[in-house]
């Protein structure tokens, strides 16, 4: 009566389950080809790719954290707030342990990272508790938290930037390894992305949060600790945000309460473009990573056309998002599935 179906062709099953990812790959390839045809010499240089790879981890790391929250059906609007606060505290630390000649002791940078991650974790747990124990809707909880964290950052710095940091930190993070090839920022991002990929796809944590995002009530009735899962998720998001802050600290060689404010909505845009549903329960990290690449490629590519203001990025970004959504809408419709407003097929 039961019986496992004959496995369909691997490629076709892969496509059906990852339609969205394939579309993103297609768009990226199309753009790469376009750039190759029009601005090959200016775009396909090592320097260009290295610069891209050193910059996107700023918001890329934050987007990974936001993705986790969205899978559980929530959202994290406080990523930038956490990033800035972590960066500011780290900057204070670095200045405090700076040696008289302006250098840094050997333990300083690892300690700084540990400090930042700890700050991110604590702030993330705060968010998680608001969402799980107090039961504030995530959009409002992280909104208030964001304001709060940014406020604390403003008070600590009196609204000014923390600068004149020991140069050791920025040089370390801005350097390239493996024969001057790969930027350190990229290494950090890749490491975190791999960890998250692993968590989501190979551990019980991943299975549990996908199900939690699908149906929190059923999760509870299946014996899952919803509260603990949520706190863990927001904590991870906080850590990712803090790491993003560390990258910003290196890239700008300073920290300030209002850096990167556009990243909040941009991260959500990226995550949604990457195929994560704000309702929860769906989304793959491959999609989010591809969306991050796509954004960076688009931005850098447009920069190579000086006639086109780089502000057009915003326009293109929003347009691409809307386009992808409309495409999804029509493809779902033609695939025979009915959407909300059309009469649903009767339940079996």
């Amino acid at each position: 009566m039961s019986g496992m179906a004959r496995p369909k062709g691997t490629l076709s099953t892969l496509y059906a389950g990852n339609r969205h990812v394939f579309r993103l790959v297609a768009v990226i390839l199309a753009w790469m080809v376009f750039m190759a045809l029009t601005r090959f010499e200016k775009f396909y240089t090592l320097i260009n790719f290295q610069t891209m790879a050193s910059q996107f981890p700023e918001f890329g790391l934050m987007a990974l954290g936001v993705m986790l929250c969205m899978v559980t059906g929530g959202i994290d609007l406080s990523t930038v707030g956490i990033a800035n606060l972590a960066a500011i505290l780290t900057a204070f630390f670095l200045k405090a342990v700076a040696l008289p000649d302006g250098g840094l002791p050997a333990y300083a940078i690892p300690a700084a990272f540990a400090l930042a991650m700890a700050v991110g974790a604590v702030l993330g747990v705060f968010n998680g508790l608001l969402v799980s124990k107090v039961r504030i809707p995530p959009i409002l909880a992280t909104l208030g938290a964001s304001e709060l964290f940014t406020g604390v950052a403003i008070v600590l710095t009196n609204g000014n930037a923390v600068s004149k940091l020991p140069i050791g930190y920025a040089t370390a993070i801005n350097s390239k390894v493996l024969g001057n090839l790969i930027p350190v920022q990229l290494i950090v991002f890749t490491a975190v992305a791999l960890v998250i990929w692993f968590l989501l796809n190979r551990t019980t944590y991943g299975v549990k949060i996908y199900l939690l995002g699908t149906n929190a009530t059923a999760a509870r009735f299946s014996g899952l600790s919803n509260d603990r899962l949520l706190v863990k998720t927001y904590m991870l998001s906080g850590i990712c945000a803090a790491l993003g802050g560390m990258i910003m600290l290196a890239n700008y060689n300073s920290a300030r309460a209002n850096y990167g404010s556009v990243y909040v909505l941009q991260c959500i845009l990226i995550v949604v473009l990457g195929g994560v549903s704000p309702a929860g329960g769906k989304g793959r990290i491959s999609g989010v990573v591809l969306a991050i690449f796509l954004l960076r490629l688009l931005e850098t590519g447009i920069n190579r056309f000086p006639q086109i203001s780089s502000y057009y990025i915003s326009l293109i970004w929003g347009g691409v998002l809307l386009l992808v959504m409309v495409l999804d809408y029509f493809s779902d419709y033609s695939a025979g599935r009915r959407l909300k407003r059309r009469p649903a097929a009767p339940a079996p």
């Binding site: 938290a145 403003i154 929003g318």
Partner: protein
């Protein structure tokens, strides 16, 4: 009488009012400057733009949706209007700029309306996308720069006063801007729409249960579409007024306001999930945020602490609201059971 009182305690608005009152009294006690004529006028003046935005977003949230594109929309329309009229050497009154803004606001709002109303795509994502598009149009296509000079008619509108209130003690005086009248008019309009028309009741119904609303006979798609058009018009009016009041146009100045406005509306009792809320509550919540943002200095709290207080306010306010919901649900379940037991 008792039933009216009991019903009142179930609603959010009285609590917000009490908190607001307590805050005002605190400031008055600490500084003696709160209930002065000029301070009240200052606050009223500060309420105009956020209040207009709040009215628009309130309607959207009640319908079960959300809109994060309204600051970008307002920035785009106000910039476009100001630039165009500047370039054209316009010297007339406020009517033309306002009309232009409204038309543009309606058109841009219609974009939201098509995607959300007719295609039925999720509002959060659509408005994120359109927010980006509007910003891109303004900064990219229109090459926006700060306009330090604005057309005479708009400048005049910004400085015109209904009356001037002077503080006898400090000698400070504040103008009550003419735009406050527009704000008051929109408040009344939205109140009327939501309470006395089926367009408005349809918005509440959709926020409660969209499928049922459709079954009951509401034209849900059409309603949503026009809702976003209206919100676009209100937002663009607000943007224009802000430019006039600031006497200059700073393109990116309003961007980022969306979250605090939403917070104010939610604090006032509008459920983020939709279907509940009132104009009164919305105004009270926004007023609370405006006062916290503007008047803390009167208690001697330096402005650098502003964000901390606003953030704490949002966290505590939404936290209390959330706990109330949990308690209300538990009480309702209990009540049902005791009702049944009593009937048995």
């Amino acid at each position: 009488m008792r039933q009216w009182l009991r019903r009142l305690t179930r609603r959010n608005e009285p609590y917000i009012f009490l908190v607001l009152l307590a805050l005002c009294l605190l400031i008055e006690v600490r500084s003696g400057q709160f209930f002065t004529a000029n301070n009240l006028v200052d606050i009223a003046s500060a309420m105009v733009v956020p209040g207009l935005f709040a009215l628009g977003i309130y309607m959207v949230i009640v319908s079960g949706g959300i809109d994060v594109s309204f600051p970008a929309l307002a920035s785009l329309t106000s910039y476009a209007t100001t630039k165009y009229l500047l370039d054209a050497g316009y010297t007339g009154g406020i009517w033309l700029p306002m009309a232009m803004s409204l038309v543009m606001g309606a058109a841009l709002g219609a974009v939201n309306g098509v995607f959300i109303g007719f295609f039925g795509l999720p509002a959060m994502i659509v408005t994120l996308g359109t927010s980006s598009v509007f910003k891109g149009l303004m900064q990219g296509a229109l090459n926006s720069v700060q306009l330090a000079v604005i057309p005479e008619g708009m400048r005049q509108f910004g400085t015109d006063a209904l009356f001037v209130a002077t503080n006898p003690v400090s000698g400070l005086s504040s103008r009550m801007p003419v735009s406050f009248l527009i704000f008051a008019a929109v408040v009344l309009l939205v109140f009327f729409l939501m309470r006395y028309t089926y367009f408005g009741r349809g918005i509440y119904a959709m926020g409660g249960n969209e499928v049922s609303a459709h079954r009951a006979g509401f034209h849900t798609r059409r309603t949503k579409f026009f809702l976003y058009v209206i919100v676009g018009m209100i937002a663009s009016a607000a943007g224009l007024i802000r430019t006039c009041m600031m006497q200059q146009n700073h393109p990116t100045n309003m961007l980022g306001m969306e979250m605090n406005i939403i917070a104010g509306v939610v604090l006032g009792g509008t459920a983020i999930t939709g279907g509940a809320g009132s104009v009164t509550g919305c105004m009270l919540g926004t007023l609370l945020i405006v006062i916290v943002e503007n008047s803390m200095i009167l208690i001697g709290i330096p402005t650098v602490w502003k964000s901390v207080f606003v953030g704490a306010l949002i966290v505590i306010g939404t936290g209390v609201s959330a706990m109330q919901v949990v308690r209300a649900n538990r009480l309702a379940a209990n009540r049902n059971l005791t009702q049944e037991a009593a009937k048995a």
